[in-house]
Symmetry: D2
């Protein structure tokens, strides 16, 4: 029997997870839960899953896994409720905008020992995974520094900005996780600078749109993160790891392999435009991983603790930006 | 209702077409015909189609299309039989190894006015299609020359070689079609040189493994085709078009976006290894096109005449290789 | 008549300037001053200039310009003495390790209105100059951030480290200048992090070998500088400017244009190994500029104030590293 | 004493050789011979050499070498005269437009055993030399095919075309030499196709402007040469060698290292515009080589026989173009 799964949230990210889940023939995407009836119906048409209420879905005792892709503010409550039922969870980042609530989630998941995967998609991208393998297997020598460039093509709506928890918790949170993963050591110092130079309205909404973050680990490894909500040429996603023996980097993925040469120079296509095409394969592999976790053949590669840790670094960055100083972070759980 | 389709041939290429056909929800892949029971059963398991005999499949009067992916020697007979039933056909290249039989196919298809798509996959590759659009819309100016590099990673078995009709009819036939398409004018002169330097056993089997072919059109456009059955670093597929205003080229597709730098230089991954991964998207789009042709919303982009014309150029190349002279080709049908 | 010039310092950098000066047929490199007789003699043999004492050189009232390429600790005294003679000066960076002495230099040069060029070679590099032109002429739109990677291939001797004034004043000083130039606005906030992870002996000598520096300007432009004394694959010199319309970057210069492809991937040569080959053309153009300044046909592109300003940013970075906080810098002179 | 040298011809190519010779401090460029007084005077001003008549130059018994950079039609007579004086010769390509006269030159040089270097500049280009070394030292495995793209940016004047001996003898002659050098085996079959599609006036002048040439060696190695007198984006000079183990290629040299990304894609600068900048280093090294040959420390890397052999291949290509057949060539001298 295919394992029945419920998807909570049928918005932009829910559709990605729903489509990938329905293509994995080890499971059955049985239910879709979304208060917006049209969204639920649309995704139902694409996947064959049944739009139901949350209660209805969770009343089905056969449900073997839940994918949480709803609004951030609902995550913690959902995690606690579904954890109490003993059902494995995949949850989109972030756990919550509050580290306190995020700690509640870690406690709940840990106490019940529920299989839990947080949706840090970068770790499932094949190129990022190869980069991590090079760093871990010694091919690069001792890791000395990591450089992350992570820039969106264009800012989200101001409504989104206002509910987002700010650039550090909403956008850089992926990069905090990548940094921890590639550094191979927990950062204990965070400093950040930022501005709203790309779109002053973002500044008026109390957020920044451009940021530079510096992390330092106890052994002296350094990491720079460069974020922007706006990039003229697409979704700029580059990471490089400088080791004592070699440097490795993942470059942007172009849209085509065409090169046109003339008086004006030699022009290539732009790069992949946004996360859904740049990380399409990563989303697919992350959902496959969750199914494997449900089935017991793999253990979570991105844990609930990873979700909390990235949030703590985001908090530290926000504090550093405000207080104009380096903020110390605990490295032990 | 989904249109029922029959797939003839469940080998390497049949599996590609079968998988793509079964993913197109406008059709139903209803039957698979292959005398090798295991092959038919395997693909049946993947697609849900029913393994049947050819007679059984063709007796179903609902069948709206046939995909021919069986051995080359069966193509012409199948085309004639299915054409007589009035069923639209997708046929893998080549039509036949004999131009005479290929002309029979053209006659049959033309007389009955059957929708017919020949499987010249390059034309459906998004990058090749963009290159063609640049050449056709004037962005490159007048097309002056075309350069095609088309090299396989490693030679097929000698059994395959012996039944293949030779490098020109089996492998270069794709490139003859690409040349005609990009030149925008029928070549009227063909010359070819070749050797079996990569694998002498291929020479002993009466074929060559490395070739250079030159085409010339009446207005003086030139095209070079460089083929090899063996390439040390993968499936080398590059095309460039030199126009009076600009040059455009399609480059090889790399396997990853990782760059590793050290004492040894700066190393990138290899390129896509063979046709099934390099042209995966082209195969998908070519099957979608066939379905659209069946449904009447598109007209064939690669016609039965294209299949014949490429074969005539292959014949001319074989004659040029043998007689060590430039061979004239008719440009009118 | 060719204008007579004196070169003070015949070490590594002195030889570069001496060779370039002797190839400019608008001037005559008349004197070389270096207490190390062998160094002076060697460069004399290459250029035809006469090795003399400083007094002897400055007693020649025809001397039309002085190139200071001696040890950093001698710069300020030389600048004051030569300025008092009214002779135009080219001085290698930095002016001095102390901002107080550097201010003395600015005062002396300003009061006497002496033509003075500081050796910030990056600004004379053709690629950097094109990047700056793009930023200034509006092709990039509003400059939002600048990213500088500036990494040496291998650490200098510990003796050099100890006399260097530290990574910020010795190495990053070039990058502070590039940052100011490309940002187009004076930074008013500096923060820095660092470690001696590449070579612990550098840490024992009281310095760092790896650093991340963040600059911010009043309008919110951000700049990251990544420095290291050790890079596994050569002299890593990359700069990118993100504007509201476009991003432009200068990439590393490879040693060759060879690409070798095989089982192991696709490998290119390493990059230029160190400053003398990467910036050879910049050094040539900077010396030509100085000669043009002497002749009155150009005004200094890198001024004594630029020399002071970069040093103030270096001081701020050192203070930030020590105090773990963002340091405010005056933007007015 | 510096060895006195005479330069014959102060035109475009003469200025390159004259400048390089005068920068080599092992020799003295003593005389310049050119019937165009202005040309001689101009180069004299740059190099300090004395403009004299040919007789005057050759009367100086100290002359240790002659550089022939005059019009092609004067080469053979000059070679015979200077050879009879026992003076080492550097001669620009081609020896002569007639293979018969070229054979006279080989005979004269051989009989008197005169050190003689023909100006096939590609062999002195550092990247081409590295490519050759890879092919020779086994890193590529057995050489199977060579692909040469050699395209000029824009056609010369029709007067030049008429006196040039045709594209094969004037332009492709470099590529015939490169082909022989990289194939490591003498070609014995030549076929060629061509047209005057870029500029019909070249066709009216009896020449072609676009050509494809195929060479084959006795062991089955193949070489394609693609030539054009016009390229929209600069001086297109690419060579690749396919071996049984690896493929290596030399790519075009860009003018800058700037990359500009925006809505329009990712644009790099154009490539080096023509031979004087693309092969500047090759010209320098080839003149250094000639001086070393004069001094006896090196033996000619490009011999008078190489000059003849390339001409024979050019003749065969012209014959193939005319007779539309593969032309056999002797491989033994």
């Amino acid at each position: 029997m295919r394992l029945p799964i419920v998807l909570i949230g049928a918005g932009r990210i829910g559709r990605i997870h729903g489509t990938n889940a329905s293509a994995d023939n080890r499971i059955e995407l049985r239910y879709i839960v979304d208060p917006v009836a049209d969204a639920a119906a649309g995704l139902s048409a694409m996947t064959g899953a049944k739009p139901v209420s949350l209660d209805e879905a969770l009343d089905d005792k056969e449900v073997a896994g839940a994918v949480i892709a709803s609004a951030t503010k609902t995550h913690a409550d959902l995690i606690e409720r579904i954890t109490s039922l003993g059902v494995p969870i995949f949850c989109e980042k972030p756990l919550d905008l509050s580290t306190s609530r995020a700690r509640d989630c870690v406690d709940a998941v840990t106490k019940k020992n529920i299989p839990f995967v947080i949706g840090f998609n970068r770790r499932y991208d094949p190129d990022f995974a190869r980069l991590h393998a090079l760093a871990r297997d010694g091919a690069l020598g001792n890791v000395e520094s990591v450089q992350i460039v992570s820039r969106d093509p264009s800012p989200p709506s101001l409504d989104y900005i206002r509910a987002s928890g700010g650039l550090f918790r909403d956008m850089a949170i992926h990069d905090f996780d990548v940094a921890r993963w590639l550094l191979g050591e927990e950062p204990d110092e965070v400093s950040a600078s930022g501005s709203s130079i790309a779109d002053p309205a973002i500044g008026e909404a109390g957020d920044i749109d451009t940021a530079l973050i510096t992390l330092r680990t106890p052994s002296g490894r350094l990491c720079s993160i460069s974020n922007s909500r706006r990039t003229s040429y697409g979704y700029d996603q580059r990471v490089e790891v400088h080791g004592s023996l070699r440097t490795a980097r993942v470059e942007n993925h172009p849209e085509t392999w065409l090169l046109v040469s003339g008086d004006e120079g030699r022009t290539r296509s732009g790069i992949k435009h946004f996360f859904h095409d740049r990380y399409a394969e990563a989303y697919r592999l992350e959902m496959r991983h969750f199914v494997s976790v449900i089935m017991g053949s793999e253990t979570p590669r991105t844990t609930v603790r990873d979700g909390l840790r990235a949030l703590e670094l985001a908090d530290a960055a926000a504090q550093s930006l405000k207080e104009k100083r380096t903020v110390q972070v605990q490295t032990a759980p």
